[in-house]
Symmetry: C2
Subunit: 192 residues, 2 copies
DNA sequence: TTTTCGACTAAAAAAACAAAATAGTCGAAA
DNA sequence: TTTCGACTATTTTGTTTTTTTAGTCGAAAA
């Protein structure tokens, strides 16, 4: 009752490495069970099915990222700084994750839909994080945005594009790229 | 000698519909041949292999798009207008194409790499088109951009994100979305 | 000379089937 | 409350055979 969550945590933690190496499909419950020193059927005491184990792994990863983002944002005191910190931190973390889950990366390119199923859950979260920053900027009289919702969407879409860019391995992005992007976002390209 | 191009055109034109229906993999040379009223082996007189037929189909499609873009741009006389026309036209055309090549769309999501192989050829083209617009804007003293190359990339990345958004069918974008995006691109979100 | 085609081959894909692996259930025991 | 072994029902894998398909070639038609 009190330990069930702990056990779930432990399983997820260990399963993480296996999923990372073999991807979702090629990871078996047997393997996970062995690594946790349990019988396979015991896993089903903690999780309903394989997908739920995977879900738990992702959730943990999301928590780590969430904290990183929170921390990065809180260390900045201007909305611009926060936005920059958010994007840079996010990109870096995603790169790391893509690196760690090397097998999953292949599955990503091959079976885009599958991963998206899990990701979409966090889209809302991301949205509100950015909205919050934008609103703060507006309240402080720093930003001038007539449609926060749409602007947020524009930013998210751009981040998605960035992600794809990185995932394809076409280019190695730098913070400079992000700064350039932000320069446009902040000031636009029109001559003042 | 003079007709060979005409024949290629005809084959590509007819193959287009078949590829659209069945995608690349499930389209057979036999089918195409039948539709063109030729023996399968005759196709190989005009094209080296199946991929070249597909290539030709894409090339035609690209030409159509190119012309549309050219026309749309030339009808505008401000750099802002041109940029807007470019993006709107591009998005509309892509949407239409995605609709027409319904089978290909599935292949796109499943086998992203394959389609990308053909697309990447046109990335350069797209890049220079946008650079040209931006430079014109700079020359006219309308835009103020310190790194055209990077700004162009930022725009392209954003368009890629937009594309993904649309392809997934998550949202039906409107011109309003584009305008909002452009509003940011032109003026940024900072208070003046 | 240019274009078409039927007959052919080699490779790939599909079908059929058996064998193995795996996700998930269940009741009983620790 | 937690663990597990034995079981089942699906999937996956491996193998062999058959069919389909991409691509070649030389000969005939235009």
């Amino acid at each position: 009752m009190i330990d069930i969550e702990k056990a779930r945590e432990e399983i997820a933690e260990i399963a993480r490495d296996i999923f990372a190496k073999f991807g979702f499909k090629k990871t078996t419950m047997e393997e996970i069970a062995k690594a946790v020193n349990k019988a396979k059927s015991s896993l089903y005491y903690y999780f309903q099915n394989k997908e739920e184990v995977f879900q738990a792994v992702i959730e943990r990863e999301a928590n780590v990222l969430r904290e990183k983002l929170q921390k990065a944002i809180s260390q900045e005191n201007t909305p611009q700084g926060k936005l920059r910190a958010y994007i840079v931190t996010r990109m870096k973390a995603l790169k790391q994750l893509a690196n760690f889950y090397s097998a999953l990366k292949d599955e990503y390119l091959e079976n885009y839909k599958f991963i998206e199923k899990f990701r979409s859950k966090y889209d809302e979260e991301e949205k509100s994080a950015i909205i919050q920053i934008l609103k703060e900027g507006i309240d402080n009289g720093i930003f001038e945005i007539n449609n926060v919702e749409m602007t947020t969407q524009a930013i998210l879409i751009t981040l998605k594009g960035f992600e794809l860019w990185v995932f394809q391995g076409n280019t190695k992005w730098t913070e400079k790229d992000v700064d350039n992007l932000l320069e446009i976002l902040f000031y636009g390209i029109m001559k003042k």
